[in-house]
Symmetry: C4
Amino acid sequence: MDKKNTRIPTLISMSEVARHNTRNDLWVVIKGKVYNLTSFYKQHPGGKSIILQYAGKDCTPQFEPFHPSNIIQRMLDPNLCLGDIDPSSVQPEHKAGTTTAATTATKAWVKPHLNQMLNVFDFESVAKHTLTKQGWSYYSSGADDEITLRDNHIAFQRIWLRPRVLVNVRHVDMATTLLGYPSNLPLYITATALGKLAHEDGELAIVRACGKKKLIYMLPTLSSYTLSDMLAAKGTHQIQFGQLYVNSDRQKTKEYIQELEQGGCKALFITVDAPQLGRREKDMRNKFTEQGANVQAEEDDEGAVDRSEGVARAISEFIDTSLCWEDLAWFKSVTTMKIILKGVATWEDVIMAYETGMVDGVVLSNHGGRQLDSARSGIEVLHEVVPHLNKRYVDWRSNFELYVDGGIRRGSDIFKAIAMGATAVGIGRPVLYSLGAYGQAGLERMLQLFADELTMVMRLMGTPTIQDITSNHVTATSLSLHTGSNVRDHLMLNTYEPLVTSSL
Amino acid sequence: MDKKNTRIPTLISMSEVARHNTRNDLWVVIKGKVYNLTSFYKQHPGGKSIILQYAGKDCTPQFEPFHPSNIIQRMLDPNLCLGDIDPSSVQPEHKAGTTTAATTATKAWVKPHLNQMLNVFDFESVAKHTLTKQGWSYYSSGADDEITLRDNHIAFQRIWLRPRVLVNVRHVDMATTLLGYPSNLPLYITATALGKLAHEDGELAIVRACGKKKLIYMLPTLSSYTLSDMLAAKGTHQIQFGQLYVNSDRQKTKEYIQELEQGGCKALFITVDAPQLGRREKDMRNKFTEQGANVQAEEDDEGAVDRSEGVARAISEFIDTSLCWEDLAWFKSVTTMKIILKGVATWEDVIMAYETGMVDGVVLSNHGGRQLDSARSGIEVLHEVVPHLNKRYVDWRSNFELYVDGGIRRGSDIFKAIAMGATAVGIGRPVLYSLGAYGQAGLERMLQLFADELTMVMRLMGTPTIQDITSNHVTATSLSLHTGSNVRDHLMLNTYEPLVTSSL
Amino acid sequence: MDKKNTRIPTLISMSEVARHNTRNDLWVVIKGKVYNLTSFYKQHPGGKSIILQYAGKDCTPQFEPFHPSNIIQRMLDPNLCLGDIDPSSVQPEHKAGTTTAATTATKAWVKPHLNQMLNVFDFESVAKHTLTKQGWSYYSSGADDEITLRDNHIAFQRIWLRPRVLVNVRHVDMATTLLGYPSNLPLYITATALGKLAHEDGELAIVRACGKKKLIYMLPTLSSYTLSDMLAAKGTHQIQFGQLYVNSDRQKTKEYIQELEQGGCKALFITVDAPQLGRREKDMRNKFTEQGANVQAEEDDEGAVDRSEGVARAISEFIDTSLCWEDLAWFKSVTTMKIILKGVATWEDVIMAYETGMVDGVVLSNHGGRQLDSARSGIEVLHEVVPHLNKRYVDWRSNFELYVDGGIRRGSDIFKAIAMGATAVGIGRPVLYSLGAYGQAGLERMLQLFADELTMVMRLMGTPTIQDITSNHVTATSLSLHTGSNVRDHLMLNTYEPLVTSSL
Amino acid sequence: MDKKNTRIPTLISMSEVARHNTRNDLWVVIKGKVYNLTSFYKQHPGGKSIILQYAGKDCTPQFEPFHPSNIIQRMLDPNLCLGDIDPSSVQPEHKAGTTTAATTATKAWVKPHLNQMLNVFDFESVAKHTLTKQGWSYYSSGADDEITLRDNHIAFQRIWLRPRVLVNVRHVDMATTLLGYPSNLPLYITATALGKLAHEDGELAIVRACGKKKLIYMLPTLSSYTLSDMLAAKGTHQIQFGQLYVNSDRQKTKEYIQELEQGGCKALFITVDAPQLGRREKDMRNKFTEQGANVQAEEDDEGAVDRSEGVARAISEFIDTSLCWEDLAWFKSVTTMKIILKGVATWEDVIMAYETGMVDGVVLSNHGGRQLDSARSGIEVLHEVVPHLNKRYVDWRSNFELYVDGGIRRGSDIFKAIAMGATAVGIGRPVLYSLGAYGQAGLERMLQLFADELTMVMRLMGTPTIQDITSNHVTATSLSLHTGSNVRDHLMLNTYEPLVTSSL
C-alpha cells in the first residue's frame, strides 16, 4: 500500500479477480489484497509457474508459509496492489486448493490423544495425517534413493550398548553446556526451513517451547517468521544460536549476521553442505516447488516439471557456490559470535576446521539425508573423526566441540552420540512432526519423551551424569559395515520383476 | 478384616457398590469384600488411575495376579473394609472387563492338543490366544524398539556348530551341577514376575514341575504367590534359588533374604540391571499398567497415559537406585547363601565381580530385552567375557560360574551356551507361555522338549556328557557382527513411505 | 503264504475285514492278502501306531514305499495271512487315505510340459504338486528351524566367480574320475531313502538314468527296492557305490557290505552323521511317521504325536550309536571296497580320517540339513578343510578325495565346489523331485540341465577341463560370514507381534 | 528380388499364403513379399522353430528388429521370393501376434509425461508397459538366478561418499576424454543388441542423441540397423567407437573391423566375455528365442523349449569360442584403431592385457549380468584391479584406461566409478528403456538426468572437475562383503514352504 491510495478503495469482487486468470492478465488475492502480477510473475524468485497456477485465485494459504510477513512491501511495486477484496464475494471455489497427505486413507482415522504419543515415531505417523500434502512431502523427503535418509536412523542400530552395573544412579543429571551455554539436555533444535508448513505458529512455537524446556534453538535462515520475530519471542536468559545460508551478496549476509548478533544469538552455524540443493524426488513427485528455499524444479508453461540446466544456474544466484575456506576470515571480521561449520562429513575437513583456529566446532551432518545420497550418517562420521582428533591434539576438547544430527529418535541415540564424542545432538524432523501434529504442546511432549528416555538410559547404563559417559559404554565395530541389508532400494524393487518357477 | 467387625456383616448389594464409582466416592469389590478406597487410591503403589477405572466394580480378577494373598491385611486400614458383597447381586456388567489378546482373530481358532507342541515356539503361539490381553502384553513386550528382545534369540543363529563324528554316543548324560547343586539339565527356571497372569497356579505350578523334572527354580521377588507359598510347595531334596530386587529399605531386604535362606534356598541372585524399569511400549500401548512390578506409566484423571517426571521419581522409592559395589559386603553379612549378580553385561563388570571375592557367579543377561534396548544378548557378552577370565585367572572356574539367559528356544541354544563357557542357561518366557497355554502339564512338556532336543544335539555333536562340550564345538566369529539385517525397525517401517516410480 | 494253505482259499469280503478294526482285533489288507496283525502290531519296527490307524483297511499304498518286496515273507508268521481279499468288495472308503501336498491350491494347476523345466528349482515346484503329502513332507523337510537346510543352498551365493577371458574354450570336457572310476560329470547321485515315495520305479529309475548318463549312483541302505534289485538293474560297465547305515548287529552289517561288494559296488560310503535321526518338524507336523527309516515320533493311542524318552531309546536299537573310530579296522577287515566317511563336518575329523590310513575320502555333508540344525554347509566346511590338508600333506590328493553335498542347484554350484577342492558333488533332493515330477525322463532332463549349465559355466570361466579349475577362480571371503540376513526365522516371525505406532 | 522376375508379378492373396502353413509347405510374408521357406527354414541361423510358428502368416514386425535391411538379399535364393502380397487381402488375423509385457495390468495405466521422468528408474518402469513382451523379456533378463544382474546395481550402495566442504564449486565441468577423444560426460553408450526391439529408430536414434549431447556411442555388432546406417547417421566431429563379436570366420571379422575403421570409428571394443551366450531364463520362460543374437533355446517340433547339446554346438559356429590372447597380434595387424577388451573380470587379466602392450584399456564388465551368474560387478572388480596396477606400474594411466559398466543408475554411481579409478562408465539398459518409452527424446532426457545428477554430486562433493575426484572421496571397505542379504533367491523362495507353528 503506498501513500497515493489514500482514498477509501472500492472493494473488488472475487468474480472480477477470477476473470484475470491468464499469463497475460494475472491477478491474485493475498491476505485480502488484490495484486496484478502480470509483469511480476516471471521474476518471481520462487519460479514463475507457481504463480501461474494461482492466477485469478485467492492464494493466501499457499503464500504464507513461504514468505516472511514483510516480503510484499520489500519486493513488490506498490502500484501493483489494486485494492481490497470484497470478503463476502469469496467462495470456496475461488481458493487455491490444498490437500492433505493422506486423504485417501483417512476416512476412519481418528487423531490419537497427545498422551498416547509414546515415542518420537508416533508423532511422525500422526503428522502424516495432519500435515498438508505439501508439508509432508517437503519435510519427509530425502535425496535421490533416500538411502542416506534411512541410514541416518539405522546407523544407530549398528551401535550397541555396554551397560555398567552397581553404580549409584539415584540422581541422574542430564544438564550440560553447548559452546559454554547451559542446556537442560545434550540436544538442541536444529534449523529447519519453513516452520509454518508444520503449524501456523511455526518457529515462534519452537522458540517458546525451547524457552520452557531450557533448550537451545538454532534459528533458521529460511524461516516462515522473520528473524526479528524469532528473536523477539525468546524469554529472559534464553539462549539462541543462528544458522546461516551464505548469500553470494555478502552485504546481505553481513546484515543478517549482525541482526543475529545484535539479537543476542551466541553462535553462528554456517551451513557448508548445500552449495546446491539436493534432489528430493518424493517432493518433486508431489509437484511441490520449494519457493522459499529456492526451487530445484520449476514447472514450465504446460505445467509439467522441468529440470533444465537453467534451473541449476538459477540456484547459484541465491546460495553462494563459491564459499570456501578462505572466506572464514571474513566471517571472523564481521562477528564475535562463535562459529560452527554445519555439514562437515570427513575427518579431513574437521582437522582443517580445527587448524584454522577460527572455528569453535562442527556439526557432523548430511543435512537430514536431503542433500547427497550415499553420504554417511553423522554418527558414522563421528566414529571416524574422534580418533584423528585424539591422535593429533591432546586437549582439543578445550576449544572445539563436535555435534551430530540426523536420525536421532531415541534417548539411546543421544546417549550413543555422547559416548562417541559429541557434545550434543541436533533434532530436526521430530520437531516439525510433533509441532505439525499437536502444536507447541506436541513439541513439548516430544522433548519430554527424549528427556524421559535419556534419564532411563543413563540410569540403566550406570552413568548418572553426562561426564560419566565414555566411549567404553558403546561398541561400534559394526557401524561402518554397509552390507546393504538395510538399503531397501524401493525404486529398483518396484521395477524389478522377480523370477518365477515354471509351476507358478 | 479386623477384630472390631465381629458382628455378622450385612451383605452389601452390588447395585449399591456401583453407585460409588467416582474419585470422590470410590468403592470396589475384591474377593467378596467391599472396600472404600476414596482416600487410599492416591497412595496406591501401583498407580492411582488403575483403581479409578475399577470404581464401583468387582475387580477381583484384575487384583489377584498382582498381589500376594496377604497384601490387603498388610497395606489397608481395616476400617476401609465395608463388608461382604451379596454374591447374588453381582451381574456380569459389574465385573471389570478383561479381553483376550487375540479376540479379533480367534473365531476359528481351536486350541491344539498338548502333544502337538513340537517346539518351544509352539507354546508361545498358543499362549497368544489363551492369555489375557493383559498377560500377553506384559510378558511378550520388550524395551523400546524391541531390538534387543529379538537379538536375544537371533544371536544364537550367528553361532554355528562343529559336530564331531565317530564318537560313541550310546549313552548321553545331560546332568550337571549349578553352584554345586545337582540339576538334570544345564538349565534353570529364571525368576519372572506375576506368574498368575499366565495361570492361576502361577509360581506353585513352576515349583512342582521343577520338582518333578529335578530342575532348579529361581524364586522371583515379584511373585503372585507369597514367598512362603513357594518355599512350602517344594519337594524333599528339591533345590531352590532366590532372586532379589533390592529395596531401598534395607531392613525389608534383609528380612526377605533371611526368609529365603531359612526356607532352604541355596543361592541369592541379586538383580543389578533394573535400577529403573524399562519402557515396554507394547505393554504401554495396551493400556496395561504394571501394578505389582511398580508402574512405569500412570493414567491421569482423563484416562490417557501420562509419563511425568514424577513417575520416574516414584519408581526410585521401590527399587534402590543407589545400589552399588560397596553394598556387596552388606549382603555377605546377612546371608551365607551363594551370591550371584543377575544382569551383568560387560567383561569389566564380570572381572569386578570376580575380584570382590564375594560373588560366586554372574548371570549375563539383559533382563529378557525388557530394560535397555540396544544392549547385547547374554550369549554375545559371554563371548566377550570368557577370554578375559581365561587370560587373567588360570583356575577361575573353580569358584566362579557364568550363566546366560535370554532367547533360548532350542536344545542347540543350550549347547552353544555351554560350549562357549556357561554353566547353565536360564529359561524365562517359555515357562510362562507353556504354563499359560496348558498349565503345569504344558510346562513339563516344554521342559521335556528341551531335554529331547539337547539329547539329540549332544548325540549328533559327538559329546555324550556336558564335560565333553568345548569351545571347539562352535564357531562364533560372526556373533558380534551387527549389520542390522535382522533389526526390523517396525516403528520406522510403519511410518516410512517408500519411494515410487512415476509409473506406479 | 506257506505250504499249508494249499487249498483254494475262500475270498474274504472287505466288509468282513472292516469289522476287525480295533487294537484287540486288527486285520489289514496288503497287496490282496488279508492279515491278522493283532499280535504283531506291537512289535512292528516302524511303530505300532502306524498300523493301528490302518486297522480294518486296505493299506497297500501306504505299505509299499516303505517295505522291500520280500519283507512280509521275512518278517511275518505265515499263519497270520488269512487269505485273499475279494477285490469286488473293496470300496473307496475301505482304502486308507492319502492326500496330495497341495490339494487346496491345485484347482487350476496344470502340470507343465517337461521341456518347460528350465532349471532344477522347476522340478521342486512341480513335485510339490505331484508328490503325495507324505512324500513331500518327508523329502522337503529339514531339521528344527531349517536354518541349515536353507544355508546349504544360500552358502553358494556367498561365493563369487572370477572368470578368466581369452582362453580357447572351443572344447569343454566335463569328464572326471571319482575314486578312480570314470564319470561323465563331477557329480554323483547320493543315497536318499524311500525312492518309491517319489515314483513307483523308485531307485530302479535312478539306476537306469545313471546308466544312460554314465554317472555313479550311491545305493541307499534304506531303499524302497531291495539291494539285489538295484544291483541287478545296472548296465554293463556301470559303476555303483553303496551307502551304509551301520546296524548295531554287526553280522547284518557285514552281510550287507558283502552283498554290495559281490554286487560289484566299488566304494562304501559309511554314514557317520546319524547316530540319531534329526527332528524334522515339517514332517512331524504332517503326522507322517517314518516307518522305513525308523520312527522319530510315535503316535500314542489317542492318535496325537508323542515324543517320550522311550522313542529315543528305541532308535538306538536300529542304528549303532556307539560307532566310533576304533570300528574302522573292522570295516577294512570285511571289505576291499574303498571306504569313504559320509557326513564329516570339521577339519579335525578330516585329518583324523586321513591319518587312519584306512579311509579313501570323506563327504563333507550335513545330511541335507535333516540332522543337526546350525551345522554349517558342506561347502563352508570344504573351505575350512583344504588349507589344513594342504598345510600338512604335500600330496594328499594322491590317495584321498573330498566330496560335498547339500544345496547344489546350479552348474555354477558344482563349479564352485570343484574350484574349492572337491572331486565331485552329491545330488540328492533334485533327484527325488525330478523323478517325482516326471519319472525317469524328468531325472534325465534334470541331469542334462546340470550338464548344460556346467558346460556354459566352464566355457565362460575359461576352464575347458575339470583340471583347469582352480581355487583362483572363486572368491569365498564372505562364505563364513553369518550375519543372519538369510536366516528367516519363520517360527519366530510367525509368532512375534510387530510394534505399531499409535496412529495405526 | 532377382532379374528374372522382371514382369509385373501377380499379387498373391493372403488367403493363399495362409494355406501354406505346414513344415512341408511353408510360406511367409515379409515386407510385402511372399517367400517359400519350405527348404530354407531348417538352415535358418536363428533356429528353425521360430519360422515354423509364422508359417502362413505375415511376420514383418517379428522379422524387422532382428535383421539388417539387406539380409534377405544376402541370405536367400531369389527364386524363393514368390511375388508381392495383395495388401488388401491382409486381415489382422493373418499377422503373427505380439503382446505387450504388461497387458494384464495395464487397464488403467496412463503413460506419464516425459517431464515426469525424474530418474533413470522411471524410464524402466514405463518401458515395462510400452515395450513388447518380447522386447521387455530380452532386455530385462539376466543370467540364471539374476544375482549378478541385481548386484551390479546394489554394489554401488555398498560404496559411500566422503564429501568435502568449503570448496569453490561455482563452475562444475564434467567434460573429459575417453582414449583421448572428448566427451561431455564421463560416460558412453555401450553396445546393446537389437535396438529396434526398443524403438523403430533403434540405433539411429542413439547415434543422433549422442551427436546432440556430444557423447560417444559404441556401435554394436548385433544391431538392428546396418553398420553403414549407423556410421552414416553421425554428425560432423561426432566420435564413435565400435564393439566386436569375433566371428570364427576371421575374414568376416576383418571386413567388419575395416568397415568400422573406414567409417571413422576410433576404437575397437572386443567382447571377451561371451564365448557362449548366457542362460536368461526370464527370456526363455517367455518363449522368446533370440534370433539375431543366435539362439540359446530352440523350439522343437511340438513347440516346447528344448535345450539339446546341439544348440550349444550351434552357437559356437557364430561366435569364436577359441578366441584367445594369441589372437591379439592379428587384431593389431588389421586395424590402427585403439583396442579395448570388453568384459574383463579379474586383476590377473587386466595385468595380462596391459603387459601385451597391444591393448589400450579394458571394460570391467559382466555383460549386464546376462552371461555368468555369480560374477562380480564391474565396480567391485575395479576395486580389486587398481591397487594391482598402481603397485606394478607407476605411470599406467598414461597409456591404459579402465572402464566400468553394469548397474549405473545415478549420477553418484558415475562419481563412484571415477573416484575408484575408471575413466568413464558405460550405460546400457537405461538407453534402451528410455528409447523404448519415449523415443529419442526419452533418451536425451535420460542422459540429461545423468548430467544434472552428476553436476549436483560433483558440487556437493567439492570436486568441480573430473580431475578433482580421487579415491579419497569414497569409502568402499564393504564393497566385497557378500553377506547374501541382498541376494533375493526368488526361485528358492517361491518354492520353499516356510515352517509354521502349530497354532497357525
